[in-house]
Symmetry: C2
Subunit: 660 residues, 2 copies
């Protein structure tokens, strides 16, 4: 069951309604389908040579009483299985695959058998830790795992129409609803790692059961109230097990100075500064936006907007990366955006997209789609190698491989790692890419919004007509987009096309007639309101010049530096093209730059070339400090898209280039 679209409320089209056929993205979709999902299945079955065993499916078999043994893995190991199921669901939506569906069905059966009579489902606790249920929500990821299971259930139900996993999810959610809440005998708790909030809203949308929405709202409203639940919980454990027990809790040190790490330091409605673990934060903000939209809750909407401003105006990298602090994988303070020690977890950028997507629903302002685009084309897909076989968790903006030996940079890897152990970012990328269709369009009763320029087909009901939309483009390399708009019958409605923030001189032509964009613009969308007929074509030309981007003066590390951007793509210099000691390269302010598509490297990319300057090391051999300024020589540079870095072996990389 889906909410009816009502009036001006923006409703995203689902991945199920949108078929992606895009030269840029189809490669990624295929990688996820052909590489990532099968690899993940092998991993879940402990068949990857050289990798530590996942044990995740075996945990379920043990919990179901079908095998003997102990739980093995992270406390959130279950979520590896449900993340895989969610990615499978999206993948099946675009390309049916009966064999894969069969594996998924069998896995769901296993989950059903592992579910406890009361609805509880978490193998860590079922296998030998029955009495530890709900005693440490702060660290134990029970509600987090439940959230991923719910998301998988909704996706699998939507895609296949099969209700088995949805039933499991509802049964578990109903049980959770009895455990947590403000009634007598209930725990006034909430998740230590957020995620279930947005999952419950999806469950509500899929089932129409308001209790799931209310449970989500409860988690959001309760969070950060005093006395802090996690403190009460810890006091309870201390009373039960003794103070020394607390010292052994894995994240103890993160809470010593308060609860910002998991955003329970303040009631969420009072939060204005994004703080703590970045993935937890943006998952929560996404859930807040969902609940705010559902209840039209102005206070919660205001908190979402203020947090949005804080993140995007003070704490976001130009790549759409967030979380500049390795310690706690966390936000830092305003303008603290170091390039070489950034954490910028792939999952955090993905979560930023989830959040932006929901903010967009609250308010069709292009700033949300701009951020989605920035993260999509830069800080998320940088997480995966071009062959889909290795992954970054951390996406730095500057790398000197030798310096990654330093303990303060040991989290920064100069090459992507095989998918081992903590399987967090790869499956998250998989579900993002497999559900890419979700981010392209949304609609109201009589308007359709085009947020992203991704080759795709969809059909929407507008003004009582079924309207076929077909988008063709070679974006992001090329700035031309053709959008065919074909209603069954001629009808008046609005097509609202996002003019990206980076684009200064767009041109939009309908059937050869130029649209007055200035007049049509509302919050960054060119609203074309006319009677549309079958065969109408909108041609969008987004002049894609090379932009020299500068950072706010308070971003101290980028003082005197410039980043190159063309369209949505942020560029970087790599050692493979420009030799070592990249910081020595300086780009003159007036240096002409040229963009050129090169099919021969990195799977086909547009490179930027130009004449920079660099100094000669001549005469410096034995001199560490000298009065003689280094001789400056002309040096041709080639910049490549940031997302494609580290696909040619280990080497230096930097996004921000000195300007002179």
């Amino acid at each position: 069951m889906k909410h009816a679209v009502s009036g001006d409320r923006l409703q995203p089209l689902s991945y199920r309604e949108v078929r992606v056929h895009d030269p840029f993205w189809t490669k990624y979709v295929a990688l996820v389908r052909d590489e990532v999902i099968p690899y993940q299945w092998e991993a879940l079955n402990d068949r990857i040579e050289g990798a530590s065993p996942s044990h995740a499916l075996q945990n379920y078999r043990i919990a179901a009483g079908e095998e003997e043994g102990a739980f093995y893995g992270y406390i959130f190991q279950d979520s590896d299985v449900t993340k895989w199921l969610e990615a499978v669901a999206y993948s099946l939506a675009s390309v049916p695959n009966p064999k894969l569906e069969q594996l998924a069905d069998a896995t769901i059966e296993l989950l059903a058998r592992a579910q406890q009579p009361d609805g509880y489902l978490n193998t860590y606790f079922t296998i030998g830790h029955q009495d530890e249920r709900w005693i440490n929500e702060r660290d134990n990821h029970e509600l987090y795992c439940a959230g991923h299971m719910i998301e998988a259930a909704v996706a699998y139900y939507e895609t296949t129409g099969k209700g088995k996993l949805l039933d499991i999810a509802c049964k578990f959610a109903d049980y959770i609803d009895t455990v947590f809440g403000v009634e007598a005998g209930q725990k006034r708790g909430y998740p230590g790692h957020q995620g279930i909030e947005l999952a419950l809203v999806r469950l509500y949308e899929a089932t129409g059961q308001p209790r799931y929405l209310k449970l989500s709202e409860y988690f959001i409203n309760e969070r950060g109230q005093e006395p802090n639940y996690f403190r009460l919980e810890a006091d309870g454990r201390a009373a039960r097990f003794g103070q020394n027990y607390l010292l052994r809790e894995p994240y103890y040190s993160l809470y010593k100075d308060g609860f910002a790490y998991n955003q329970s330091h303040l009631p969420v409605r009072r939060q204005r500064h994004a703080a703590g673990h970045a993935v937890r934060a943006v998952y929560m903000y996404a859930g807040m936006a969902d609940v705010a939209a559902a209840f039209k809750d102005p206070e919660l909407i205001e908190a979402c907007r203020k947090l949005w401003d804080n993140v995007t105006q003070r704490q976001m990298y130009i790549t759409g990366g967030i979380g500049s602090n390795h310690d706690g994988e966390a936000f830092s303070f305003d303008y603290d955006l170091p390039n070489d020690t950034a954490y910028t977890e792939t999952c955090a950028s993905i979560g930023l997209i989830f959040w932006a997507h929901r903010m967009q629903r609250l308010d069709p302002d292009r700033k949300y789609a701009d951020v989605i685009e920035r993260a999509l084309y830069n800080g998320t897909i940088s997480g995966m190698a071009l062959d889909g076989k290795s992954f970054f968790y951390v996406n730095p903006l500057e790398v000197w491989p030798q310096a990654c030996q330093r303990p303060d940079k040991k989290h920064v890897k100069p090459v992507r790692q095989k998918w081992f152990n903590c399987a967090c970012c790869p499956p998250n990328l998989a579900r993002l890419i497999a559900s890419l269709g979700t981010y392209i369009y949304s609609q109201t009763d009589n308007s359709v919004y085009v947020h992203q320029f991704i080759g795709s087909d969809t059909k929407v009901n507008l003004a009582g007509q079924s309207v076929q939309l077909s988008q063709q483009t070679n974006y992001p390399w090329d700035a031309t987009i053709d959008l065919a708009v074909s209603p069954d019958q001629p009808a008046a409605f609005t097509v609202a096309i996002r003019v990206p923030g980076w684009c200064e001189n767009p041109s939009i032509v309908v059937n050869g007639q130029r649209v007055d964009i200035q007049a049509a613009m509302t919050k960054g969308y060119a609203r074309i309101n006319r009677v549309w007929e079958a065969g109408d074509v909108i041609r969008i030309e987004l002049t894609m010049t090379i932009k020299r981007m500068y950072a706010h003066p308070n971003v101290r590390v980028n003082a005197g530096k410039v980043a190159l951007q063309r369209g949505p793509i942020v560029y970087c210099l790599e050692e493979a093209d420009n030799g070592a000691v990249l910081p020595d390269i300086a780009l003159p302010e007036q240096a002409p730059l040229e963009a050129r598509f090169r099919p021969d490297i990195l799977g086909g990319i547009t490179v930027i070339t130009g004449e920079a300057r660099r100094s000669s090391a001549l005469g410096w051999e034995e001199t560490l400090y000298g009065e003689t300024k280094r001789a400056d020589v002309v040096f041709p540079i080639q910049a490549v898209p940031y997302f494609a870095w580290a696909n040619r072996g280990e080497g230096e990389m930097q996004v921000w280039i000195r300007e002179r």
Copy 2:
């Protein structure tokens, strides 16, 4: 007893032979005498309010059987007492103070009573850990503490003529000589924290007993031989206490990947790259230079020279700071010299001076005195507030106070700390400053070297004559030095005056007659060979222009940046003078700069002023990244000497300034 000066062997004049009366340094000497030494005495007696108790003297009383109780403090707590005694000795040499001498004498009596019959003296082990003697040299600092005691003993003997502490030291050293060595039944060990090597050479020089020199040589030669002694030792502990015991050893993690942390990863003669804990390293290199000089050991000399080149050409900050890695307080790899996460411990710069001083003895090349000067006027005294009451252990070259909250910068303090707990740097600074006379002159049979320009008087025997030398200067603010050379009788000898590496156009005039410096120069010293008579005056004019200093292109963090230096003084920008967001300031290449003495700030310093540019934050409020380059406005800057930073409250600071 002192070695006879023989032929061309360079012999430094001792602090006892040189009276310092210098406008710049006398303030520091007085601070050490009037603030630091008395404060330290109060600390040793647990009379500092708000500080954790030192317990150091009480430990001695307990070890002497005069009080009941347990040992308290760091395992090297004893050295706090002997460092104090050493500083007292130097201070008494310049200003007699019977009351202070009485306190020292009483303390020495206490040490005597705490010494064990076999000569052993370390209160941690004597109080309840008798059976742990010499089982963990890697971590337990037994030989390190012995080294500090020996140094104090030599200094106190030299200064006061009193032999009590020297007797204690000899007795302990004689005992150590029975424990360690290559004979059957001896341990083939060496210190985990070096220092005793150079101390034993001082003991040899004070007593004339070659066994102390040989023991020092043994420690140096044995270090890093295979099988590694610390591994054998650890295996022994594992056999005795079990493997789990090893995991609890404090520095275990530092040794997992080898023994570079304490420089036992290779035999010292084969070491070419400075590695590991910087203070341990330079104390060891100083000991190596001593032993190399004593035995005229070409292989050891070569190792010293190669290590010197590595440190000063690849791993030293422009302030004379060393140790760029917080983890292990250690050297890093070549050219890895981050400004904002530097460790650059005050003690490491002091150790660099100790080492350079000994290298100078091997080879009178000005490069050694240049480094001593660089460290003296910058990276060492930066460790102490101008009022002598607070101290930096870490001396960064760039500070953004808010960023010191970040875990990767938490070792960097934006303001100096009261002297608490690990009392390492403050007493080390005290002994350096109190013995400053040591670094100014050295001599051979018929020449005297003037290494440093510090107002001072001394008397040397040259060519059979007693020669009075008197140096007067307002260095480092002023470039003029008057050196009066007055032999009892006219005599021919050489006065070799260092022309600092930073000085391009020196002028040296003897009794009004210009010296041909080019002709007189040997390894950076202008050698003036003539018949000197009473009343001769050398006027040295070192043109002190403002230098724009650049770093080797491989020092990536300093690309495009300039540091200001005038004479030996390295400058920095502070928020107090220039407002916040210092990295935004850019200094045009051609900007005229002016030096001016300002008696009104920071105790009287020469400031550098000039016109830089900075951007306006106008229009950036809500924009984090934009295409518009920031408007650039003229901005007058004032730079102050680096050593004087952080004496006006908390604020930003940076040494390296963007150039444009």
